[in-house]
Subunit: 361 residues, 2 copies
């Protein structure tokens, strides 16, 4: 299968590090999440930081999505340029960027759209107060990164007092990334919603992490969902239990540049700048990705991404090099100059591949 994978990737004219997206899988991921949001009657405002791609953005539009989330002012500007009109920046407002935010808000306003920002302090709330934007208050429901702690009620009072008409309460339950399996994920989701529900009746509630949004059968007690990672999923989501292998929709394509069967190693052009040094612990070791293959349906059409070769993990990354472990059964199939697929640990951190994207349609 490694030989056939390489041959097909070469037939597409690929030569070096790049990103492969399986359109059918990504569209399935998008459709399922959009359907669940629709059934639950909540706003689906997907996070676009994962793909940052105008092409993938159109697949969301095809499912009726017209409101999006981004994680920086720059990303908001970029998607505004490609026609998106209703954008929430779900990253704490940097007061130094207030003039730039005002400019973007005015642009979106002229187009009939709307910009949302996020704050968790009186200082940022005051900086946002002068802008024509929706202001969401970030609440920390247990992740411990940013947000007003859900039980710090007087601090929440102070922040809300600095805002004329808050858009609502927004959280990212990033603690779900520590969960393993549906039960643990659902427990986190239930606790997250409970911690927000009683805080300020009447204010909208927006939640956002992929593990919870992927796992709950329907959304109750919230008004909006903002997952992002689910469009591609990845090895980390698979480990958490938010997806199955056949939902993983993005992989790196890397050329084999070194083969060392005597020590069970393959070296590819595909390093920290391509995959990021994001890692996961599995079986007592740290890995940075896994080798994968294409899927060749009978009939030879609709070739897409396939499965994982569990026995071939990426065991180290330097700036441009990826080192993959593989015994003779793996190395024996490969030659210098072959192309392989590498499943990433975290698909949100593939920015270094974004100028070389291939879509398997």
């Amino acid at each position: 299968m490694l030989k056939a994978t390489s041959a097909h990737l070469k037939s597409l004219g690929l030569t070096g590090p790049g990103l492969i997206i399986d359109e059918a899988r990504a569209r399935t991921n998008i459709r399922d999440m959009a359907d669940k949001a629709r059934r639950s009657g909540v706003v689906f405002r997907p996070h676009f930081k994962t793909h940052q791609s105008p092409a993938v953005a159109r697949w969301f539009a095809a499912e009726g999505v017209d409101r999006i989330t981004v994680s920086s002012v720059r990303m908001a500007e970029q998607f505004a340029e490609t026609g998106w009109r209703d954008i929430t920046i779900a990253f704490l407002l940097n007061p130094l960027e207030a003039p730039r935010v005002a400019n973007l808000a005015a642009y979106l306003g002229r187009k009939g759209g709307r910009l949302g920002v996020t704050v968790d302090s009186v200082a940022a709330a005051k900086a946002a107060a002068g802008l024509d934007v929706d202001i969401w208050v970030k609440v920390d429901t247990g992740y411990g990164r940013t947000g007003v702690p859900w039980d710090a009620t007087s601090r929440l009072d102070e922040v809300l007092a600095a805002i004329d008409r808050p858009a609502g309460l927004l959280t990212h339950a990033g603690q779900s990334y520590q969960a393993r399996g549906h039960d643990e994920i659902l427990e986190i989701h239930t606790r997250t919603v409970a911690r927000l529900a009683g805080l300020r009746p009447g204010l909208k509630i927006s939640i956002g992490d992929t593990p919870c949004c992927s796992t709950v059968p329907e959304f109750a007690g919230v008004d909006e969902i903002r997952p992002g990672n689910f469009v591609f999923y990845d090895l980390m989501q698979l480990q958490i239990g938010s997806c199955t292998e056949n939902r993983m929709a993005a992989a790196a394509v890397c050329p084999v540049v070194g083969l060392y069967p005597e020590r069970n190693r393959i070296v590819v052009h595909g390093g920290a700048v391509h995959l990021s040094k994001e890692s996961l612990e599995t079986g007592g070791r740290r890995i940075f990705g896994r080798l994968g293959t294409l899927h060749f349906p009978a009939g030879g059409r609709n070739i897409g991404l396939g499965g994982i070769l569990d026995e071939a993990p990426v065991v180290s990354l330097s700036q441009e090099h990826g080192v993959i472990e593989g015994d003779g059964a793996i190395t024996g199939q490969l030659a210098i100059g072959d192309l392989v697929l590498v499943w990433p640990v975290h698909s949100c951190l593939l920015g270094g591949l974004q100028d070389n994207v291939t879509i398997l349609a």
Copy 2:
């Protein structure tokens, strides 16, 4: 000092994540390495993958450098476009890129320059044989990543037999990154040179890692050096013992977006996409950077990068967020919207900041 640092960075018009380079420090680093190479009578062919900046490249040119090293064909093309004529790609040749390499070699040849490539297999040697390039054979002197193992003499024979006139033997003693202190570094250097020296008398020898190149008093037994990281150094080089704090020449500038004195945390806009998730172990914990300050000389001129705040490490990174630990003495000096400096663990992995660079001259 944090207040003054923020005020000065704001006075430069900075607002968001960016890279700050201290020109005086970087030029000192370049000059010292160039001088040592000159004294030792070896070719100084610095690796440009660390900075990837035309501006920094000119500081090398000012020290007489006209031969450079890069780690990809694309990087070679980029520096060729800005006038560099003698370039070695010190990354194993990907045979699929042979046409692109041929094209670049022809371009450099027309300009009176020369392209070098690196191989460690018969397959890659054959792919290179048809090109008008210098062919270096990569030797593994103990790092264990790529290269013909120094003691695999028959394999070296096979690779050399496939090359008409090899340019020489090239190694990267990356094992020096595991060393701590001058003695351990020098031991690795001595062993590296010894392993290459006897291999093929008459062939040139090129070495490249920053710890060894920074530490040896002079270069004996080699013909060329290719360090890269030394231009900026970083926390990892400081931990290894290759540099002193006042040689570190590049830091990230990040806005404070969240302040949580109740749990000794500061959150900045500066995450994995900016600093990379490269980490180091220190005092039993994993850190991703450290807070820093500017240096304000008496008289108010020549403001440059300053020192490290050891008590304020970056304890976690997500895509856009950096989480810094700091007690009341740190958080008490900071406000939302202040700018801070973050020293990186590995200055070669700051590509996400390269479109927003400020030079302190």
